[in-house]
Each structure stands twice: as structure tokens, then as C-alpha cells.
């Protein structure tokens, strides 16, 4: 459990002045990661994408602790190398500090182009935490679909027209894909539930071996919402069970937050302009299908957690 009083006393380690859009949630995810690490230094790798380009505009950097970006598809491979160096130098007695190793990637850098590198690093069992800040599309290049993009969403490569209702496929369930790697720790989180998320970061960091945390990180530009709404939208994603908060610890699934009252999906969708077209007449079947999928997956999760 994170203690808010103590957390509030911590220096901010991901500084302001970065170039992310107002209302972008990704930087908050990074701050919470640093909060979870506390005094322990963190070495971070990051995939190409919004987070990296908005935070490292030379000669400035928002990262107050060691950071490396090298390419788009290799955050997990890069951290593998950092971890191997750390292990090797420690074993040889050339290095004696404790550090946390955290890799960041957007959904594109995680679900799509960086999928293989992540799977490989997880299978090899490096001791690192991989954080997917998931804004459900390629935002840096102008809101193109990814395999994390929800069905029915507008993106610039799944435009809405008379023939097409936005993206036609349901997203890949990357959290389950990573759980299937049988690594020690896998979780889904949201910064709207700061305590839940920081606790998950802490657990992941303390666990020996690979950990994967999929964090829903609303994007003001791609989802199209007023800048102050991001955290509220994230909360609604959880309250509608569109984005359930859960963890898989050594193979055991546990739901970490259960909404008292499961809200209809439409309440979440209507907060984002990317779903606007779904509220037009003729879209009822698709809406029903989207709701049914949320229900199916929520019930399956409860069964996996032994709660249904």
C-alpha cells in the first residue's frame, strides 16, 4: 500500500516543462513509477513514441535519472542489455549499487513492433519491469490504429466512412499474452487509481524476474477530450469494466478493484470524440456487441480470479 503523505513529500523525478500535450496521462504514469521506486535509483529505457519525444528534446530532458532511448521496437531488448551489464558488473565486484530497471513502451512499441523483443526478454527472465503506457494508438505519428485500438474507434488509419465504422477488430489482450509467458508478475493498472497503480509498481519492482504492467494512459489528442478529463476518463474505463484492474502473481489472478456498480460502456465511450460516430442511429448493433464483449471478458476475469 502506498502512503499518500509520504509520496507527497517525494521530489518530482519526471520534471515539468516536457512537451507532452496538456492533459496527456503518460507523464503521470512515469511519475507514479518513480514514486514507487522511492529512494532507489531507476534506470529507464523507452521506445520511440510520444513519451520519449516529448520528454527528451535536446538540450532538455524531463528524466532526472538515467534514461536511454534507442529505437521503437526494442525497449525490452535494450533493458535486457542494461540488466546483463548490471548483473555482470555486480558479479565481478565492479558495481555495488541497487538499481531498478524499468522499460517503457507505448502500445505500438509493445503490442505491435516491439512484441517479439518483449516476449524474448520475458522468456529469458531478466529482472526488469516493463510498463506499457497504453493510449490505444500510434499517437506520435498522428493517431494510427494499433492492435491495442478498441473496436469501433476512429483513428487516422481506421477512419469512419459510410462503409466503415472505425476499427473493425477487437484489441489484442496483451496483458493475458504476457500472463501466458508465466512471468512472476503481470498487472493491468490506471493512474486514475493511483494507490492501486503505485502498489503494483512496487510489487513489480520487488519481484525477482520480469514484470509487465499494462497502464491505460488516455491521450487527449487521439481520444479527443478536454485536457482536464483524462483522469476521469481513466476512472470510467475501470468503472465500466472496460479496463479491469487486476494482477497475475506467479500465475494467480486477483482482481484488485471491483466497481461497486458496473457502469454501462456507453458512459465511457461518450467521453471521447473518437467514439462519437457510435452514438448515431444505425450503430446500435455495434454498441451492443462492444458491451457484450466487455461483459464476456469481465466475467471471464472473475472466473479466472475464482470470484464467479
Amino acid at each position: 500500500m502506498a502512503n499518500i503523505k509520504e509520496l507527497s513529500k517525494q521530489p518530482i523525478k519526471f520534471t515539468g516543462g516536457h512537451r507532452a500535450c496538456s492533459g496527456c496521462i503518460a507523464p503521470i504514469v512515469v511519475r507514479m513509477m518513480y514514486m514507487a521506486a522511492g529512494e532507489t535509483p531507476v534506470v529507464t529505457t523507452c521506445a520511440t513514441g510520444c513519451l520519449e519525444v516529448t520528454s527528451t528534446l535536446f538540450p532538455y530532458t524531463a528524466w532526472t535519472q538515467p534514461f536511454i532511448h534507442s529505437a521503437f521496437e526494442n525497449s525490452a531488448a535494450t533493458i535486457s542489455g542494461v540488466e546483463a551489464a548490471y548483473k555482470s558488473l555486480k558479479r565481478q565486484g565492479k558495481y555495488d549499487k541497487e538499481v531498478r530497471l524499468v522499460a517503457f513502451g507505448g502500445d505500438g512499441g509493445t503490442y505491435d513492433i516491439g512484441f517479439q523483443a518483449l516476449s524474448g526478454a520475458a522468456e529469458r527472465g531478466h529482472n526488469f519491469v516493463y510498463v506499457c503506457y497504453n493510449n490505444e494508438a500510434y499517437m506520435n505519428t498522428g493517431v494510427q490504429r494499433s492492435s491495442a485500438t478498441p473496436k469501433g474507434a476512429y483513428t487516422t488509419t481506421t477512419p469512419v466512412g459510410i462503409m466503415e465504422p472505425g476499427k473493425k477488430q477487437f484489441p489484442k489482450d496483451m496483458t493475458q499474452v504476457m500472463a501466458a509467458h508465466d512471468i512472476p508478475y503481470v498487472a493491468q493498472g490506471s493512474p486514475s487509481f493511483w494507490n492501486d497503480l503505485i502498489t503494483k509498481f512496487q510489487k513489480a519492482m520487488e519481484m525477482e524476474g520480469p514484470a509487465f504492467i499494462n497502464v491505460l494512459a488516455p491521450c487527449r489528442l487521439g481520444w479527443a477530450y478536454p485536457p482536464e478529463e483524462g483522469i476521469k476518463i481513466g476512472k470510467m474505463a475501470v468503472d465500466t469494466c472496460y479496463w479491469p484492474l487486476y494482477e497475475v502473481v506467479n500465475g494467480d489472478t486477483r482482481v484488485t478493484y471491483k466497481p461497486r456498480e458496473k457502469k454501462p460502456l456507453a458512459e465511457y465511450l461518450q467521453m471521447q470524440t473518437k467514439f462519437r460516430h457510435l452514438f448515431k442511429p444505425g450503430m446500435e448493433d455495434l454498441m451492443a456487441e462492444l458491451q457484450a464483449e466487455v461483459d464476456r471478458k469481465w466475467e471471464r476475469l472473475l472466473r479466472m480470479a475464482g470470484e464467479a
Partner: protein, 412 residues
């Protein structure tokens, strides 16, 4: 080629045992694996590909037998091999990998990044043709495809040179004036799998020669946090890339300096290129890699018959020693450049282009012609090299070549 478990273990055991003996019969891959064992990098991240696979196999056995302190990362692709090597080197470790052909091609994106981040990574590359068609045998298209990535490229004629170059490359790359990555290349199968007598130096002497890697700026130094690989817009990118040209301009001197030290320590001499019977030669060829061995035999034979034949064997292809090569070739009657890759640029291979570039402003420049040979492992024998000298003698008579570029040993 695939090796059984037993063979690999035997190979590693043999390689391990021979480690402290001076003369050993070794393949090129074994010799290079040895150099890596003696360098004892903190991290190796690699992925198998013929003909470099053996390096990875033998080196894993060194790790398994506790002969090195290396953390070995058996990655899931060459893209990840280079990415992990970059991560390890940036973190503060001496990090190496090795590859060939398609593996090098898959690394392409990361090669530029390794150089741009100024990471002194040394990578043996066992030269092999690029697909399509798929072919596992030697040519230089793989390395040539990466020639402008900001990597130093050292070519080796034989196993001994591959071993020696690997050791020297560590010193060259890690030199504070350089901090650039390097490929040490040698010909697939012809060298990588052929048994030769190789002089393996004492472990302790090699250890002392390569020294310790002590980076100034590295990720694990949490007291001095750095951001690596940030974003440059139009206001800084050019300056940063321009900045790469400075260490590149110093490579030549450092290669010579390390070569001189190597000679002092181990007795074998290395420059930017080697010349063979060049001083009084009228007809010269320029080659890379194992072909130089065949050429030497041919030259001896021609000399016996009164033909003044000579050769330049390029060791350092990147950066290219333009002035030095031009000076060496100046005044010759005719020069042929032999490329083991086709540039597909419309005018022969990349070595041809460089040599012509080098000679362009030289007052006393010879006629130059290019030959593309040996693609996909096609053999080149003394008779083929002799035919080049025959052409050169004809060309010298008229001062003009009928064909600027020819293909050698191909069915047209």
C-alpha cells in the same frame, strides 16, 4: 554449418586448452571466439547465423565452463542482439556480439544508433552473401551494405588477422578520441571454417593489451544521471551528426598507433592496408579479405615470369584511407579493383568507387578498372587473378580500358 553438441563441446574444450599454447590449428571462428574469451567482455548478446554460428556456440561453452565472466544473453533476433549490446555498452559494460549476412541486415537500424550514441562495440562479422537468392557462402555484400553506418570496418585475410584485428579493435574503439563501434570481418567458410595455424597469445598478455573498459558516461552511474538517445530537431541534429566526423577523422592515427603497440607486444605488423610487391609494380590489384592470399601466390608466379605485378590489400575499409591508397597506387600503369560485392550502382562495386575517388585528384593516376567476383562463395583461383593482370597489361598498352567494370568467373 550445424554442429552436434558433442562436436561443439569438443571444439570449445580444444579451444579452451589451446588458450595458453602459442601455435594452434584453428578455424577462423575458433580463433575469433578465442580472442573474445581473452577479451572477456562483460556482456555478449548474440543470435546464431551461418557461418558465424560457431562463435556463438563456442563462446557459450566458455561461459558454461566458467572460462569468462561474461553475462551471455541468448537473444531472440539480431535486432535484439544489437539492441541489447547497445543497452549493455551504454550501461557501462564492455559488450560484444557477432553475426553474418541477414543478421547484419536485420541490425541495420541499430548500427547507426550504436555509432550515433558513440558506443565502442566490437562485432566480428563473418562475411556472407545477402538474399535473395538465399546463400550461406562468402561475399562482402553484408558488410558493404553497412559501410556508411559510422562503424570502423577492419577486413582480415586469414584467421590470424581475424584474431589480431578483434583484439586491436577493442583498443581502437575504446580510445577516448574514437568511441565508435567496429566490425572485424573475415570471409565466411573460406576463413571461418578452414583450419589454419594460428598464433594464440597468452591470456594474460591479451588481457593487459586490451586493458579495462572505463567509460566516462554510462547509465549505471546513477550519481551522474544522463539522458541518452534524445530528440534533436533541425537546430541540433546536424551538429551532432557533424560531430561524428571528428572521431572518424582520428581513426586512422589510432589504428596505426594501436597497430604499432600490437607489433611491439606480439610482433605482427598492421597498417591501414598491406602492400605486396607493390613498390616496383607496374600492374596492381586492390583486394579485401582472403582473396589476398590467392593473389600473393599469383603475383609470385607472375613475377617469376617477369610480369611486374603487385597488390594493395585493404585492411581498414571504413574510414577509407583515401590519400594513402592513392599514394601507394600513384604511377602504376594500370590498376584493377576486385570487389566481392556488386554495388548495383551502375558502375561496379563499392571498393572500386572508393579507389577511383581516392585517385581522382592525383596527378599521376593510373588507369583503373573494376571487377566483381566471387558472389555467393564462387571460387576465385590464381588463373582468374592472372587473367586480371593479363587485362591490365593490355590496358596499359593503350591507356584505355574497353570495359570499365567486368564480372569475373560468372556464366554470362
Amino acid at each position: 554449418m550445424a554442429k552436434t553438441l558433442e562436436e561443439t563441446t569438443k571444439m570449445a574444450a580444444k579451444a579452451g586448452k589451446n588458450g595458453n599454447k602459442k601455435l594452434s590449428a584453428l578455424t577462423g571462428n575458433e580463433a575469433v571466439a578465442h580472442a573474445m574469451r581473452q577479451i572477456n567482455p562483460d556482456v555478449v548478446a548474440a543470435y546464431p547465423i551461418t557461418p558465424a554460428t560457431e562463435i556463438v556456440q563456442i563462446f557459450s561453452s566458455f561461459v558454461a565452463n566458467g572460462q569468462v565472466h561474461t553475462e551471455y544473453v541468448a537473444v531472440e533476433s539480431e535486432h535484439s542482439a544489437m539492441s541489447a549490446t547497445i543497452g549493455a555498452c551504454a550501461a557501462g559494460a564492455r559488450a560484444m556480439t557477432a553475426t553474418s549476412s541477414q543478421g547484419l541486415a536485420l541490425m541495420w537500424e541499430m548500427l547507426y544508433i550504436a555509432a550515433g550514441l558513440r558506443l565502442p562495440i566490437v562485432m566480428p562479422v563473418t562475411n556472407r552473401a545477402l538474399s535473395a537468392p538465399i546463400n550461406i557462402h562468402c561475399d562482402h555484400s553484408d558488410t558493404m551494405g553497412a559501410r556508411d553506418a559510422g562503424w570502423i570496418q577492419l577486413f582480415s585475410e586469414n584467421s590470424q588477422e581475424a584474431y589480431d584485428n578483434t583484439i586491436q579493435a577493442i583498443r581502437i574503439c575504446e580510445h577516448p578520441d574514437i568511441l565508435l563501434p567496429a566490425m572485424v570481418t573475415y570471409d565466411g567458410f573460406i576463413i571461418s571454417h578452414a583450419m589454419e595455424v594460428v598464433r594464440i597469445e597468452e591470456d594474460a598478455e591479451v588481457k593487459e593489451f586490451v586493458g579495462e573498459y572505463k567509460p566516462d558516461i554510462y547509465l549505471l552511474n546513477t550519481d551522474k544521471p544522463v539522458t541518452m538517445g534524445g530528440l534533436d530537431f533541425t537546430d541540433f541534429y546536424f551538429e551532432h551528426r557533424r560531430g561524428l566526423a571528428d572521431p572518424v577523422s582520428k581513426v586512422k592515427d589510432v589504428v596505426l598507433q594501436v597497430g604499432a603497440e600490437f607489433k611491439k607486444q606480439f610482433g605482427r605488423e598492421y597498417g591501414l592496408f598491406e602492400t605486396y610487391k607493390l613498390d616496383d609494380a607496374e600492374y596492381a590489384i586492390v583486394v579485401l579479405g582472403s582473396t589476398a592470399g590467392t593473389a600473393k601466390v599469383t603475383i609470385d608466379d607472375l613475377r617469376d615470369r617477369g610480369v611486374k605485378a603487385g597488390m594493395v590489400k585493404i585492411r581498414m575499409f571504413r574510414p577509407f584511407p583515401y590519400d594513402e591508397v592513392a599514394k601507394a597506387l600513384e604511377g602504376k600503369k594500370a590498376v584493377a579493383v576486385l570487389d566481392r560485392s556488386d554495388g548495383l550502382a551502375g558502375r561496379g562495386g563499392p571498393v572500386f568507387g572508393e579507389v577511383r575517388n581516392a585517385l581522382c585528384d592525383w596527378p599521376n593516376k593510373p588507369v583503373t578498372v573494376g571487377y566483381v567476383y566471387g558472389l555467393g562463395g564462387r571460387d576465385i583461383g590464381p588463373e582468374m587473378i592472372e587473367s586480371v593482370y593479363t587485362d591490365l597489361q593490355e590496358i596499359a598498352k593503350t591507356g584505355k580500358a574497353l570495359n570499365l567494370v567486368k564480372y569475373l568467373g560468372v556464366r554470362e
